[in-house]
Symmetry: C3
Subunit: 362 residues, 3 copies
Amino acid sequence: MNTKVKDVATAALWPRNAWYVACTPDEIEGKPLGRMICGERMVFFRAEGGKVAAIEDFCPHRGAPLSLGFVRDGNLVCGYHGLVMGCSGHAIDMPGQKVKGFPPIKSFATIERYGFIWVWPGDQEQVDPEKLHHLHWAESEEWAYGGGLYHIKCDYRLMVDNLMDLTHETYVHASSIGQKEIDEAPVKTRAEPDEIITSRTMEKVMAPPFWQLALRGAGLPDDQLVDRWQICRFSLPSHVMIEVGVALEGQGGYEADDAMKAASIVVDFITPETETSHHYFWGMARRFGVDDPALTDTIREGQGKIFSEDLDMLEQQQNNLLLYPDRRLLKLNIDAGGVRSRMMIERAIAEENSSTQVTEAA
Amino acid sequence: MNTKVKDVATAALWPRNAWYVACTPDEIEGKPLGRMICGERMVFFRAEGGKVAAIEDFCPHRGAPLSLGFVRDGNLVCGYHGLVMGCSGHAIDMPGQKVKGFPPIKSFATIERYGFIWVWPGDQEQVDPEKLHHLHWAESEEWAYGGGLYHIKCDYRLMVDNLMDLTHETYVHASSIGQKEIDEAPVKTRAEPDEIITSRTMEKVMAPPFWQLALRGAGLPDDQLVDRWQICRFSLPSHVMIEVGVALEGQGGYEADDAMKAASIVVDFITPETETSHHYFWGMARRFGVDDPALTDTIREGQGKIFSEDLDMLEQQQNNLLLYPDRRLLKLNIDAGGVRSRMMIERAIAEENSSTQVTEAA
Amino acid sequence: MNTKVKDVATAALWPRNAWYVACTPDEIEGKPLGRMICGERMVFFRAEGGKVAAIEDFCPHRGAPLSLGFVRDGNLVCGYHGLVMGCSGHAIDMPGQKVKGFPPIKSFATIERYGFIWVWPGDQEQVDPEKLHHLHWAESEEWAYGGGLYHIKCDYRLMVDNLMDLTHETYVHASSIGQKEIDEAPVKTRAEPDEIITSRTMEKVMAPPFWQLALRGAGLPDDQLVDRWQICRFSLPSHVMIEVGVALEGQGGYEADDAMKAASIVVDFITPETETSHHYFWGMARRFGVDDPALTDTIREGQGKIFSEDLDMLEQQQNNLLLYPDRRLLKLNIDAGGVRSRMMIERAIAEENSSTQVTEAA
């Protein structure tokens, strides 16, 4: 059948049976939100009791986007002819119509946790809350968080590559977090069962401007030599958490006492939209100055500016790859993080496909 | 042959042997107008004696759009190299060239009547002025008319659906003509030989804002209960005339005496451009305040605002249908008007195709 | 192989083994320039010793456009991860990497001469500096030059047609250089071994506004009858040089003494970008008022305005041709210049293809 073929084809691009960040709670405040995720047009809204519902953004009546409608009593009312849809994708009501026999549309499991709304775009029979990525910093008072969202017109895997090789900081972010010592320091990459980890340390370097700001935020001097680290952790389906920080020289670096360092986690949730676009939820969780909301704003602004420097590069890289689809790229040792992350993605996709085929044959 | 295949394929989308509104006279005042109608690029201009000519917007010399040229002595001069084209599509003159042997381009029959310029895009052998839709209000002093034109990026049949089911007024036009009572009132749909008619009446309701304005324009109180009616009439190829109005309660509604009601006809000429776009000529013919041009302007402005509310919904509905081409839509009783109108369109197309095939076989 | 097939296919559109204008020196001042020429994405930069290098705008590491990078010590540093590329397309250096084994990217021969940077997009084995078009006016103190660049969304051959039939001046440029006498004057077209020449002379005419300006610039009266000439010269791959001028009546026209005329050369380098777009380097070389830079500016501004009038016509002509790909155009005697120029282009392409096939068979 047509739909199945499409599903299998789509499956080749990203794992489907996984939790992706769909949006943040403020995006569905008082109104539904339409967003395409993993090739599926979805609409998100607050259903009864405040639970977040996600159903197809396609009214079964005449195909209008349900996201143009409004929420009433926890149901979603189509803004064209008033069909009322419930959170499970079933028609609930329509003035003058008997709606029980209406074919349901798809619904998608959601979880609201850690300040995000997560969605499971794949097989709803296989939904598994245990698979949600655990974010310890999001539940601890010892951490503060701030972040944002960019829509980027490139394959989500190019963003994974970008984040799993921070060599680019020297070039793309020369004026903020880049420094010559980065690409001079060798990277170490290793695979854990659920994680790819690639890391770099730089000893006795001057902190670049962004980290000088962080040192000041942490109440530390910004004009002394520091030891700097970057530990990038990829996990399925497409999350990259990067432990970053600087410690005053000789205090143990990553292992230094909290009072001697400014440490944080760069948080990256990369949600595919189409084959050549994605939603990029970026942010920073930090362990210094956690009670200082002005610092949160300053960091968010600085980080937003830094990440916007990647946009043009990534979108033009995508254009180039579309122009030269047959050209093979190089895989250097600095690319090991991205290469192994992609292998992990491909294995997940392959596993989903083989189990799908079994289901279909049955 | 290539052209024939294309013609037959195109024929599947809309009736071709029919009169469509092409433009209004002001659009060709002093200059030619280029417009694609039913997939054909046409240029309209005033030929000798003021008659409107329509020929292909393609100069047979080098393919430049003739609409970039100018009119001289009732002929159309190409703005690139000066080839002079007559209203029948034949080359007339060109400095230093003998043009008699030039292959003609297509010409299209036109009629100027009722304040519109109509064109017959199909087989010019079958042109039949008798088939022109009769507009009694356009020839009567008892009526006044005002209207406008929108270019909409959706299949013209989605606009037919829209107008043949006014349930959407409650949702899309909530602040002007919508009211809760609309979708509570059942619709009646019936087919006449040349017309599909779907109607609704609402008794003892408050007039919504637009009709309050109309009541005041008609010299009637705007704060009393009224009886309201909507009678939508579809006719080929894609015209929808909607009798609408409100009468003071208990005066007979639609049948009430003129002094007791504000009655008008919503006029909709829906001219296909491409498979996913059309020209929408909208307006209102009214029987109240006919000597008040300021009222015409007020109504035009209000109606223009209301109809612009449909644009976003229709264009996003079109996008959704393109994304999910295989999905079947529901046909509820409120959709009967649209469904039957589409059946009438399909029958007309099928008749054209069968007669075309006979011609080709001969 | 894929690339070869593409190359041969591309070859059908334009000669590849020829010198095209790529850019002007100011465009690569202090930074690299990315530009697609004859379907190839190239990046231009100043290499060691000031020589202009042209290599593929595609970093062999991860496919980023090299034009987003920067020049250091005469090499091009990729702005993503710092791969250093030399002017021959070989990787030179990368922090922490051994780059000798990196596969090179293409490089293209360039020549900087006559105020332009020229590139040879085809077979680099066949690069021949002797094939560079000679521009005598660019090396002489008796001439002054000014010009500009337009990006035009049409097949470069439509621009060749445009320039090899100046009949269009009467229509497209009616207010500046057009005049009724142009299309009344017959054209003469002839083929030389390396040139197609089409010419027109008009005797005892009033100079149109642009030429009145030129007459004043040359210190001549602008209100007297003049003899006017236009001699269009096409040469491979796609250059059109047009000798134009006016002389006071009866002084010999084109042959008149310098003191009696305002004479110049309209300079047109037409560089294909894609099948439906090109870079248009236009300008005017003149023999009057050569020491007057303000006149250069005035003429550049006037010429820029005139040539911008062609843009809309050419781009809409291209759209029309794409809509009606099967329609054949007319070839009138005024089109002889364009038709013969296209034949010369086709012969050059055919010759390249036959020699390519031999090479491949070997």
